[in-house]
Symmetry: C2
Subunit: 323 residues, 2 copies
């Protein structure tokens, strides 16, 4: 099968009308009046961002999820995406079919359609790049720069599960002791707080999605806003089984810190005025989104992280270092 056959057989059925049935080299989109476009691009490389030979429906879902995560952290609604697939020659057709079924599932979950892209061959690892396009009412995009001193720092969902999934895959966790499949699923198929995107744009002064690690991303936001983010480590929400893992570690504070810097969570970290917190919590509860207050915006720079006794914990590596 050549590129055109692949597109006709597996990708055309995923296309939205903007994608012109993938029969053109470009998409044509009429941006709705009264909206800004919010656009982001994320790339996953085999062996760097996901395990080798993991070309399946799950990785397709992760690819779409990590890009949706960027869009909803701006308070925007994702609409469509462009996919660049660089495939090794050994890629088999069954894997390709499975991958496309994962795209289909993610499109349903996040209400997006394929608008275009490019398919190429590579002599190296599988490389996938997505450009995601969304809309937000004009002027309402939530940026990293808007945090105000006194804001409460909130986070959606639970943190650290994906990192424990990676540790499981790296054989650093005893699969006989813990129900590790839960974590591994979090790692392979993170689920951003899609249902809460309107909540982000309504209540947040600043927001960022957590991909590098909660503390690292909090630092990015703090730097962009020119403030300090003061994090209360024990307040960072964990699932029941992640809490059990923490409890079993020799130093629980070190264990919590590991989860707060592990990354790949794809939850939203938001800075919200104190007065908005009750309404924010109510909206989150209505949508069954876990919402925790984990810190405060103070004057200063960077991130401080406090333990259960209120003392500042030194953090040498707040998250994943790129390059």
């Amino acid at each position: 099968m050549d590129e055109f056959g692949f597109i006709a057989e597996y990708l055309s059925c995923l296309a939205g009308p903007e994608g012109l049935d993938l029969k053109d080299d470009a998409a044509v989109w009429k941006p709705p009046a009264g909206f800004d476009a919010v656009i982001s691009m994320d790339t996953l490389v085999e062996g760097v961002h996901f395990p080798q030979d993991k070309f399946d429906a799950q990785i397709a879902q992760k690819l779409i999820a990590v890009n949706v995560s960027d869009i909803i952290a701006k308070g925007a609604d994702p609409l469509g995406y462009f996919l660049s697939l660089s495939l090794p020659k050994k890629t088999d057709l069954e894997a390709l079919k499975d991958f496309c079924s994962g795209l289909d599932a993610a499109q349903y979950d996040y209400e997006v359609k394929l608008w275009g892209g490019d398919t190429t061959r590579t002599d190296g690892p599988l490389t996938m790049s997505v450009t995601m396009i969304g809309t937000v009412p004009t002027g309402k995009a939530v940026l990293r720069t808007g945090a105000k001193i006194g804001d409460f720092v909130c986070v959606t969902g639970n943190i650290g599960g994906s990192y424990l999934g990676l540790k499981t895959l790296l054989k650093q966790i005893d699969t006989e002791v813990y129900p590790t499949k839960f974590w591994v699923n979090k790692y392979h198929m993170p689920r951003p707080a899609f249902e809460f995107r309107a909540g982000v744009r309504t209540y947040a002064n600043a927001a960022i999605d957590i991909s590098d690690g909660l503390l690292a991303d909090a630092e990015h936001l703090a730097r962009a806003s020119g403030v300090c983010i003061d994090i209360n480590l024990p307040a960072i929400p964990l699932s029941t089984i992640s809490t059990a893992w923490v409890s079993a570690q020799p130093d629980q504070q070190v264990a919590r810190l590991e989860l707060a810097t592990g990354g790949d969570d794809y939850q939203v970290l938001m800075c919200v005025s104190e007065a908005q917190i009750p309404a924010l919590k109510k909206q989150a509860a209505l949508r069954k989104i876990n919402l925790a207050v984990i810190g405060k915006v103070i004057s200063g720079a960077g991130v401080t992280c406090r333990g259960s006794d209120g003392e500042v914990i030194p953090v040498t590596e707040p998250g994943y270092r790129h390059f």
Copy 2:
């Protein structure tokens, strides 16, 4: 230097305001009222689309040019782009600086700015993906589907120079006989008919950019429009030195066919009503764009190609086969 240092030092200066100084994970763009967005994505893989170790200013210019080419073939004005760079570990800083200077030059040539992207590491070949965004007055995008029977088929620029550049690099042409640098430059730095994008949207019923090969891309357009495109091979415009190369080949018709199927031209192939041809030619002349009528849209399917005696030439391989 880590990813954030690289962005701050080399990429931030290339960013447009939509890119939020590359300090956010997304761009925010207010699409202008009365315009459609036209978006395309193209990927270049080292060793597949460009020679190994060719990471320099020229490849940056080619990367932007091939994406601009898609946009202007729709009659749209390019505005901004997202860049995904997957860099091998061996990439040196000097090459990276040179690459960024090529982006800068291309941004000036095509009036575009960097809006965002992603930088990752890879164990494989250098892989670069661009998503280009442009605008066109609402409803005026020129698609592949609009060709009408009776339309004249026109092409901008000259064809085949880039292919002869590739042949030079593959040591298939005697560099002592021909001034091959001209062709090699065409291959490394194709120059789409940027100045003619308004001409495309004003006069063309259908258009496509020539990347796979003139005959292959004509066939894509013919299929999308449900017509046959009848090409007059001797009318395909060649530069003086490409004409000299053709003259020196044992079979000139075979040589012309080679240039018409070589690809990488990044010129525009357009279908234009006969009545519009004088105005089209005048506008092209005003912009110093070479414009040639090379065929006609007739009923039927696919592409027919005729030689100097008017006889149909069988074409087995109309262009680059993907995958």
